[in-house]
Symmetry: C2
Subunit: 361 residues, 2 copies
């Protein structure tokens, strides 16, 4: 294997799980071998549990199918989506590690403009281990990066930054467009490599894509619920968006940072826009109410853990979005179930969910 | 002249003035000749008015020295700084054009990673003529740029964007650091070309640098006051910062966008950090109060013109920052004088300062 010669030093090897939702054999891992081989994988098998998913030799993994999810969570398994990549959040729940990286199985290793393979995981880890700057925008982007700093006019009291909870990576080739945009621009490819990492400012929402995403599970894990999507639900493809909006409101409340930008992965395959349109159309309509809801959401200062924040947010979802569609009442209940299930599996560990991260090893 | 062979089509030729504050001969314009020659320049001569500033042949310009400023503004000339590049804002006031580009005389043409000279002015104009996205962050940056769009999860109702008031460009080579950072990192150079333009989100402040800056004067001109700096004042090098914070609060109130990122210029010369420290040290201290002040500033909805917003902000500066230092009482008065002087020179035109921009020619 030529790849194994370039094995990088694996940062946080014993503190990070890679979560992959899939319905197929994981041949895509071959390309990631030099970067992932030394990490532990949590594979969440979606769809028919009797199907066998092949994982290339040499990877250390655990795999959960629907039967496993039902067995482990019992009635609470209802909060985990089926036939939708939202099922990936089950992997976050069963992990015992401090950090999670999650990637889709149609994502490959991208190259930077110099033609070098990008170690996406390493960049995510750097993003997570260095602070964020949610309170004031730095015009030279990440001030902690080599060759950069805070510019003139940046208050010194803010230069310590905030702990980083989430690192949102981007995609070259197939951009993450909604169905209408896919239909209108079927040939558009993202070719622009923007060499920047930046903090999404406090109070600003963004569309979080779950394709190439890392987070500090100890900090924000309980807010990373990907909702009720797919089988039996009126909506799909809003799992990561939902998680992103909930997570951002909670990070803003807790004083944690969210970064976006580098690293890029190579997104190989556009999903079918007609199928996507069917999954999305209610979401496209509903999001016009969701965004103002999340923009206005305020969490009381009594909420000092992520779980408390999330339960409070579920209450507000039920109250305010329940009027938009009964689906949100069901979703709000599932949000509560999710927290119960999370706490059931993470009883002692999650007591410490308030502690700050950001101290490099 | 080899350069004149590559003269680009000058966008907005008759609608944009280039404002340059200077104390020396403008040899730096030679390098900008292909890009600036067809535009009108407004040169604001700082320092000794008896000195003659040489402007290379072939440029169309008007030049104002301190005597001119005193003659034109009379007693109101007190609001225009002396011996500080803050004097540039006089140029904004006497311009009759819709757009302003301002650049420092130690800024040269930068090259993009392909080695091509960057037409900074053209990029600024593109930034100003296309909308901004202050209400929701787009992870692929400027959605109006060729090859990009709004990503999945971006509300459709927000995709028209907002009118763009300001385009803040960046600098390769010498970064815009404060004196302490200059002292600590004397050799740091900005080598990273980040190929992105993005909107600074609503509610987020940033450090606006006046070195390479364009704006829609008809929209936001009256808020582009660079304050009382330099000769006779306790502070320097906060002129652009002050303007940026005031401007951003007003743009947020008025619903206009502010962009930062491309274009880069090549910043050739680091100013003396010891001299800078003397100019800045009070600002470094005061900005710890200024930022919370501007972050909390709310303008009443009765303020429907930039002038009204600015006068209201001056009132709040006097009330709240006057306690920090008596300098801010003087500054608040100068802010009012600035608006009076602006309205005196722009009487009829500025009645229309509320009208939206953004319509490409």
């Amino acid at each position: 294997m030529a790849g194994s010669a370039i094995k990088p030093t694996p940062l946080l090897k014993d503190e990070l799980d890679i979560v992959i939702p899939t319905i197929r054999n994981l041949d895509f891992l071959e390309m990631w071998r030099p970067f992932f081989e030394q990490y532990h994988l949590i594979i969440v098998q979606d769809g028919d549990p009797s199907k066998t998913i092949k994982v290339p030799d040499g990877f250390d993994y655990e795999l959960y199918n629907r039967n496993d999810i039902n067995r482990i969570l019992g009635p609470k398994a209802s909060c985990i989506s089926f036939k939708d990549s939202a099922c990936r959040c089950f992997g976050y729940m069963v992990s015992k590690k401090k950090y999670i990286y999650t990637i889709d199985d149609d994502c490959f290793v991208a190259k930077n403009p110099s033609g070098e393979q990008i170690n996406a995981l390493e960049q995510h880890i750097k993003n997570l281990l260095s602070p964020s700057t949610p309170y004031f925008f730095n015009t030279l982007y990440d001030p902690y990066r080599e060759g950069a700093d805070f510019v003139r006019g940046y208050p010194f009291s803010l230069r310590e930054g905030a702990a980083t909870a989430v690192s949102h990576g981007l995609w070259l080739n197939i951009p993450d467009y909604d169905a209408p945009t896919q239909l209108v621009k079927p040939l558009e490819r993202n070719k622009r490599y923007v060499d920047a990492v930046l903090t999404v400012p406090k109070g600003t929402l963004f569309p979080m894509c779950g394709m190439n995403l890392a987070f500090n599970r100890e900090l924000i894990g309980p807010a990373m619920y990907f909702g009720l999507m797919g089988d039996g639900q009126p909506i799909g493809r809003y799992d990561d968006m939902w998680a992103g909006w909930c997570m951002k409101v909670i990070c803003d409340h807790m004083g944690w940072g969210v970064k976006t930008g580098l690293p890029y992965i190579w997104h190989s395959k556009a999903s079918n826009p007609f199928v996507n349109l069917k999954k999305e159309y209610r979401g496209i309509y509903w999001q016009e109410d969701l965004i103002p809801f999340f923009q206005a959401a305020v969490l009381p200062k009594e909420c000092v853990t992520v779980q408390q924040c999330y339960i409070e947010l579920a209450k507000q979802v039920k109250e305010k979005l329940g009027k938009v569609d009964p689906y949100f009442i069901k979703l709000a209940d599932a949000m509560v179930t999710w927290i119960e299930a999370w706490d059931g599996l993470n009883s002692s560990e999650e007591k410490s969910s308030k502690q700050p991260n950001g101290t490099a090893k």
